[in-house]
């Protein structure tokens, strides 16, 4: 059996059992931390579809988390609280935003694409800060949250935990399927050699745009869940530093690997916690660690964790 599947089984098994284990340790704080890592992982997996499989280095991906979160928050503020309706709104808004910004950004590739996604991300960030009616710079605390068939089972506690876990699983499974599908294969072909893919008969930009929209919509869903978890939304979700964090997660975890984004997300959240508990200025260590990792330990932790399982680019 594939080693990465074993890793995944252990990971999801642990996450599934966590609500039963945590009361034994007696830590509600830990459960929040795990939800945080899972939400990070969902957004990171979607970014891996772009960067790992598609070769499109976007530095504005967190903006879609922000757009999804704000779409949800604004809908909630206006009395929409059915989770399915919220999901629909989030998907529509993030998908549309991605359609517009993607059509422009994908006229270019490489470093231009990187800078343009960065710029569009920043534009979205500033747009969110100027939403005076919804908190502006300071963000917005939400007094009503999503319900499912009128029940508030998703408002905190295990209901929310399992919703996030279920979404993580669906994202993990779905993106893996996509990467192996006909569509994913064209996406990887375009990453490898766009000219050749074009001369195989594939309109590369269209495929990239679809991937860009899928990734944005998944990121948007992580934003929806984030609102439900934090009961608060702020433009800080959409800063480009957040986008940078997402890149760190997927590179640390290993690009285009089955579990890389999840491992990377948990690794980062744990490192932040552990370093942060020793020294308040943990970023003084974290920053140079990143630099050293790039200079000396290419390939990410997935190579350290599972030297054989991670093949760099899965094919």
């Amino acid at each position: 059996m594939d080693r990465s599947l074993v890793t995944a089984a252990v990971l999801f098994g642990l996450l599934l059992a966590m609500p039963f284990l945590l009361p034994l340790i007696g830590s509600a704080y830990l459960s929040g931390l795990i939800i945080k890592a899972m939400l990070l992982a969902i957004a990171a997996i979607s970014l891996d579809l772009l960067i790992g499989h598609g070769g499109m280095i976007s530095l504005g991906h967190a903006a879609f988390v922000g757009v999804g979160a704000y779409a949800t928050a604004i809908a909630l503020e206006n009395g929409v609280d059915d989770i399915f309706l919220l999901l629909l709104i989030t998907l529509a808004v993030t998908g549309l935003t991605a359609l517009v910004s993607g059509s422009l950004a994908l006229r270019t590739s490489g470093l231009y694409f990187l800078m343009i996604t960065l710029a569009f991300g920043q534009m979205i960030y500033f747009t969110l800060t100027s939403l005076a009616a919804y908190g502006g710079d300071d963000g917005l605390t939400l007094w009503s949250l999503a319900t499912v068939f009128g029940s508030n089972v998703l408002q905190g506690g295990n209901g929310l935990y399992y919703l996030v876990l279920g979404t993580l699983f669906a994202t993990w499974w779905g993106v893996y399927r996509i990467s192996r599908s006909r569509f994913g294969r064209v996406l990887r072909a375009a990453r490898d050699n766009p000219e050749r893919a074009e001369v195989m008969g594939y309109p590369v930009v269209r495929f990239r745009l679809i991937a860009y929209m899928i990734a944005a919509m998944i990121a948007g869903v992580s934003g929806l869940l984030l609102v439900q978890h934090a009961e608060f939304v702020s433009p800080a979700l959409a800063t480009w530093q957040r986008s940078g964090d997402l890149i760190v997660v997927i590179v640390l975890g290993g690009l285009a690997t089955r579990n890389g984004a999840i491992l990377g997300a948990f690794f980062i959240v744990i490192v932040e916690e552990v370093l942060g508990s020793f020294i308040h200025e943990w970023r003084l260590i974290y920053g140079p660690l990143l630099v050293l990792m790039v200079l000396f330990a290419k390939g990410g932790i997935s190579h350290l964790l599972m030297p054989k399982g991670a093949k760099g680019y899965a094919s």
Partner: protein, 248 residues
């Protein structure tokens, strides 16, 4: 009816005219060779046929269909296969995957998001038989990045063939090949010749004499001589412009 017809193609960059009233027509089962000195406009002509450049005026018809304004990928879908002068494959894909994904473009929609493409037997069978045809079947599982230059030239051809083209554009297929590899490739192409019309751009005159039914000599963006390889060889203009140095 001609399979590929180029009608009065003109293209210039500022004061530099690279294509001057070029008309070429290549019929069913024909192999037409395009020769000419460097800078004669062969590459820009290839670019206009494949869609990298748009001509200023004139038309290109593939199997009767006007493809002049189509995008590169649309032309391929319409049946125009091509190989590149500088090898262009998907390095992280195996030889089989390289060929299978080319076949995929002609076998239903690629907007399928769930089924594992590498397990689509229909595609893999087309890919494998195409690899067999070019003699690469035993290298099917090797990533393209690990293939030799000669093998890559063959893979390049297999990729084009897997897309089931109606017409094949061969841009210096012999480039960089050793003597014996060239001979093998010429043999392979002459097998294809009867069933698949092609336009061959090549410097290797031996290959041209073996493969081409007709030849156009391009000088300064203009076709200055055309006919059978022997006729063109006999043409004085051809000697002066191009073949002279080779014949000596």
């Amino acid at each position: 009816m001609s399979t590929l017809e180029i009608r009065k193609l003109n293209k210039s960059f500022g004061a530099l005219t690279v294509s001057r009233d070029i008309s070429i027509s290549i019929g069913e089962g024909q192999c037409h060779a395009l020769i000419g000195p460097n800078g004669a406009g062969k590459t820009t002509l290839i670019h206009q046929i494949s869609g990298v450049l748009r001509p200023d005026s004139g038309h290109i018809l593939l199997d009767g269909q006007d493809i002049t304004q189509m995008s590169i990928s649309r032309r391929v879908q319409a049946g125009l296969g091509r190989t590149f002068q500088i090898t262009s494959v998907l390095p992280s894909f195996t030889a089989l995957e390289n060929t299978a994904i080319a076949a995929q473009a002609k076998a239903g929609s690629s907007l399928r998001f769930f089924r594992d493409a590498s397990r689509e037997t229909a595609l893999n069978e087309i890919a494998l038989s195409t690899l067999q045809r070019v003699g690469l079947a035993d290298r099917a599982a090797i990533p393209a990045a690990d293939l030799s230059h000669g093998e890559l030239r063959l893979l390049e051809l297999a990729i084009s063939l897997a897309g089931k083209p109606k017409f094949l554009l061969l841009d210096e297929p012999m480039a960089g090949l050793g003597r014996s590899e060239s001979v093998a490739l010429v043999a392979l192409l002459s097998e294809l010749r009867g069933s698949l019309p092609m336009l061959l751009v090549e410097h290797d005159m031996d290959a041209i004499f073996q493969l081409a039914d007709t030849v156009s000599l391009l000088v300064d963006g203009q076709v200055v001589a055309r006919g059978t390889p022997d006729e063109v060889r006999a043409d004085a203009a051809a000697r002066a412009a191009y073949l002279g140095e080779n014949a000596a």
